[in-house]
Symmetry: C2
Subunit: 179 residues, 2 copies
């Protein structure tokens, strides 16, 4: 990711912002082509359904980019809220500028690699949501988020998995018992 | 997509195959770095869960690439089966070769654009699976798959949406009544 960090700080119009815990940086319904590179801290993106329930789309810690790619690619208002779980330092940049920037061939390849990796993670997520039990979903979450586990509140993990906090607590209890 | 078609037929080691309806081209558990570009026909990728139930991951018609990106990016055996819904003509190619091929800057940009678009579609799918009612999921499916709707059997649409064929039939009945 160091490569990308260099691109962002040198080549394109990008701005670093210091954000407080709980600060909202993007709301559903806005038109934006911004993407957010996390230098420090932890952010989440999420939707809110008709009943007011929050559904976590993704968590982003150091080195991750968080953005609403659907709204950007299909030129629609965003569906995702993005806010800070922790106090954070984030680079705001325009994805359109980034795609048009004067990147070297190596940077373009690095970019393609990051995009491919993101597709792989999303594929795993879709399969998980469709065909896997809540307990297996939790185990997959533990694997993919091992480095930031202690920084994410349980109720947010439950929302990411699509279960109630009570159901998650039960799953954790069962895993603890079986060990 | 014409660009990509040219790359595949000229620049890298790729092989066109003619496939019969129901022919399986990839099985879960295999190690493969192949990707499949659909010249003609209709393919699907899917998982089979512990109870033997099939869950559709994606449909791919003319101009689409279908592959298991997760297995390729994280070097794991594939989790996805891929087979033909219709008689099809498909280019088999090695994604590793494609990423290393001597592509022009424009081809690299075109590739990044396709990857970004795929992320956008997957984002929509995850949000749909997490937070949207079965009826809304069906409406979203109608929008995103309008061109190939009549070619996909109802039971496969139900599997893609994560509902039973009976539930889908009820939803279609309600939509017909409300018109």
């Amino acid at each position: 990711m160091e490569n990308l960090n260099n691109i962002l700080t040198l080549d394109i119009n990008a701005k670093t912002k210091h954000l407080k815990k709980r600060e909202i940086i993007q709301k559903a319904g806005e038109n934006t082509s911004l993407a957010y590179y996390v230098k420090k801290g932890l952010l989440k993106s999420y939707t809110i359904d008709e009943k007011g329930k929050e559904h976590i789309f993704m968590f982003a810690s150091e080195g991750w980019i968080i953005a609403d790619m659907e709204s950007q690619e299909f030129k629609q208002p965003t569906e995702l809220f993005i806010d800070c779980i922790e106090e954070s330092e984030v680079i705001f940049f325009d994805r359109k500028c980034f795609m048009l920037a004067n990147l070297t061939e190596n940077q373009l390849r690095e970019n393609a690699h990051l995009l491919a990796r993101r597709i792989a993670v999303l594929q795993k997520r879709v399969i998980m949501l469709m065909s896997v039990s809540a307990q297996e979903r939790y185990n997959m979450f533990l694997e993919t988020h091992s480095k930031i586990l202690n920084r994410i509140p349980q109720r947010l993990i439950a929302s990411y998995l699509g279960v109630t906090p009570e159901a998650l607590s039960k799953i954790r209890g069962e895993i603890a018992k079986s060990k």
